[in-house]
Amino acid sequence: MTLSAGVDVGSNSVKAALVDDGGADARRLLGSAVQRIRGMDLADAVEECYEAALAAAGVEREAVDYVATTGESESVPFRTGHFYSMTAHARGGLFLVPDARAALDIGALHGRVIRMDERGKVLDYRMTSQCASGSGQFLESISRYLGVALDEIGELSRRADDPEAVSSICAVLAETDVINMVSRGISTPNILKGIHLSMAGRLIKLIKAARIEGVVAVTGGLAADEGLIAAMTEAAAEREFPLDLRPHPESALAGAIGAAIWGAFRHRKLSRLAPAG
């Protein structure tokens, strides 16, 4: 077995996962941790997160065969290798949802859909442009305007009875929309649902552009937003677009898990290639 770690350094948080990997079906997640970066030195956040993941897995630092990074690798000086975030999310999505042949990664800075094969090899992808209106950062800003905690958003959104449409193109205009809605007395659930539907529209366009149908593993921090998942499902049904979105309790860790799995793969490959003796 290969003991590998994945460290995903995102713009809002660091995620770390320890995987015991024997290849094929013999791999399991031993432990993980998530550390918010806000206000912290990035190197400290990485160190704390990695130590917490090692402790959760009951693994000594020296026992790890390969430390794989994804995201901003420069802040992980103890890394063995690095994988691009798309490569890592595809593999992590496949691990969490084995039926999936696509991953929808909705992180803090952008939304991205990745088409892959049964090995996790990336075949195609589409991502939101530089505008942040399809991302978690946008949703976080809106939640601050509304005085709502992030983990309340999903449930509030699902209580909406008359969602209010917002700009689907520009995060700045959308924020202006939201301020206007608040002053017009629109309820928080209806504002949030409107935002979710706006994001859903953008993300479904990406999925269609990448010619993806069927089971899609949802990865990244926003996979836990049940309001967004519900809005995407509704929007897909309205468009008669066959979409089976599968978030997973560990979706936020998909990048770290995928990096760890690829790290284990590389460790085995390099061991095979190493000269004998």
Binding site: S73, H82, F83, Y84, W262, R266
Partner: protein, 388 residues
């Protein structure tokens, strides 16, 4: 001096757009002159032998907004001539007493004419290296051209340049080329020890410093970096090609490294390692420089390769010699020599089963995310899906 201090000094020299270091060098001795040169190849030995400081003119990178430089060139021309004109018009090349313009491409040739019109008080020497490699034809032509350059340099510095001056200069640059080869060999063998961002900064420092001082810097770095404990990463080993003239920004080079690539060979700063063996220091020194040019095996898109079947062979050899797993074609936008050769080189790599990817850049490319994405996925493809 430790690695950090050496690289810090090199970084300072790279950022010295006003050529303050050149002005300081000139001020330290009476009558000292500095001669600029454009990429790709110039015989720096001649400038050194004349007692002048050879100074590389390599554009302004991402540090200068181009305003007046754009007026001289059409939109389909690369960036380095624009920033060169901009630097000159803003007085940032005032420390130079003249410049050599090699026959890299039509753009650099025409830049020599623009330079003459804009800065008539400065010497402008355009020189055309031979395409005919017959010693009796190209060799004789080039020997004559070298003598003419020496004559014009003598006028700038106000003194004669003797054979001993030239031999001493050849010796100094032979030492430089040996050190640069050692740097490149070390990087190919242990790329985790010599990041390309550091190797590049070291070579760029040679565009500002006297060769003897630069040689000392290189030797110090080679000693210091061997003593430094640096972590080996599981990166893809790649060769970069197409970067011989307009240089990518340091951030672009770092982006490739952060994306998971070890650069094990490249064609950055080719002027520092032209020629294979040393140039001989016996006999007539101009004959020796001409012979070295004629017999050099260096293949770049701006050097004519008479035997078409050999096109791309040097790139394949570099991949094999350095144990590279793939090639990144990185060329400046609108670089005719690099972009015209690219399909031929790619065809050779395909025949050899060598993976490659391609992109274009400008010296002032600021949006590096697409390049990071491309290099990152290329490195992943090599590591996860190649047979090796």
């Amino acid at each position: 001096m430790g690695v950090e201090a050496i690289i810090g000094r090199c970084q300072g020299l790279l950022e010295d757009l006003d050529l303050a270091c050149v002005s300081e060098w000139k001020a330290a001795g009476e009558g000292r002159k500095a001669i600029g040169f454009l990429p790709v190849y110039v015989p720096r030995e001649l400038i050194h032998a004349a007692g002048a400081l050879p100074v590389g003119i390599l554009g302004a990178g991402e540090e200068l907004e181009i305003v007046r430089g754009d007026a001289c060139f059409q939109s389909y021309i690369c960036h380095i001539p624009r920033s060169t004109v901009e630097l000159g018009l803003r007085g940032k090349l005032d420390a130079l007493d003249g410049a050599l313009f090699p026959s890299t491409c039509d753009v650099i040739r025409n830049l020599s004419g623009i330079w003459q019109l804009m800065f008539p008080e400065k010497e402008a020497i355009y020189f055309d290296v031979p395409q005919n490699l017959d010693p009796q034809v190209g060799g004789v032509f080039y020997r004559g051209l070298l003598a003419e350059i020496v004559t014009r340099l003598q006028r700038v510095v106000g003194r004669d340049v003797g054979a001993d001056d030239l031999r001493a200069a050849i010796s100094a640059y032979n030492a430089s080329r040996r050190l640069v080869r050692e740097l490149y060999d070390l990087r190919a063998a242990e790329p985790w020890r010599v990041p390309t961002s550091e190797a590049y900064l070291l070579l760029r420092a040679g565009m500002r410093l006297p060769v003897e001082e630069h040689n000392e810097l290189l030797a110090n770095y080679l000693t210091a970096v061997r003593d430094e404990d640096r972590a080996l990463r599981d990166n893809a080993r790649i060769v970069i090609t197409g970067t011989f003239c307009e240089q990518p920004s340091l951030d672009l080079i770092r982006t490739l490294e952060h994306a998971g690539c070890y650069v094990v060979d490249d064609d950055l700063m080719l002027v520092t390692r032209w020629y294979g063996p040393d140039i001989r220091t016996d006999g007539d020194p101009l004959d020796a420089i001409a012979e070295a040019w004629m017999s050099a095996d260096d293949e770049t898109p701006c050097r004519y390769v008479a035997d078409g079947t050999r096109k791309g062979q040097q790139l394949v050899d570099s991949v094999r010699r350095c144990g590279a797993e793939g090639v990144i074609f990185a060329a400046p936008s609108f670089c005719d020599p690099a972009l015209l050769d690219r399909p031929m080189l790619q065809a050779v790599l395909e025949e050899e089963g060598i993976a490659y990817t391609s992109f274009k850049y400008s010296e002032n490319t600021a949006q590096l995310q697409p390049i990071r994405e491309q290099a990152g996925t290329f490195a992943d493809t090599i590591k996860l899906w190649s047979d090796a």
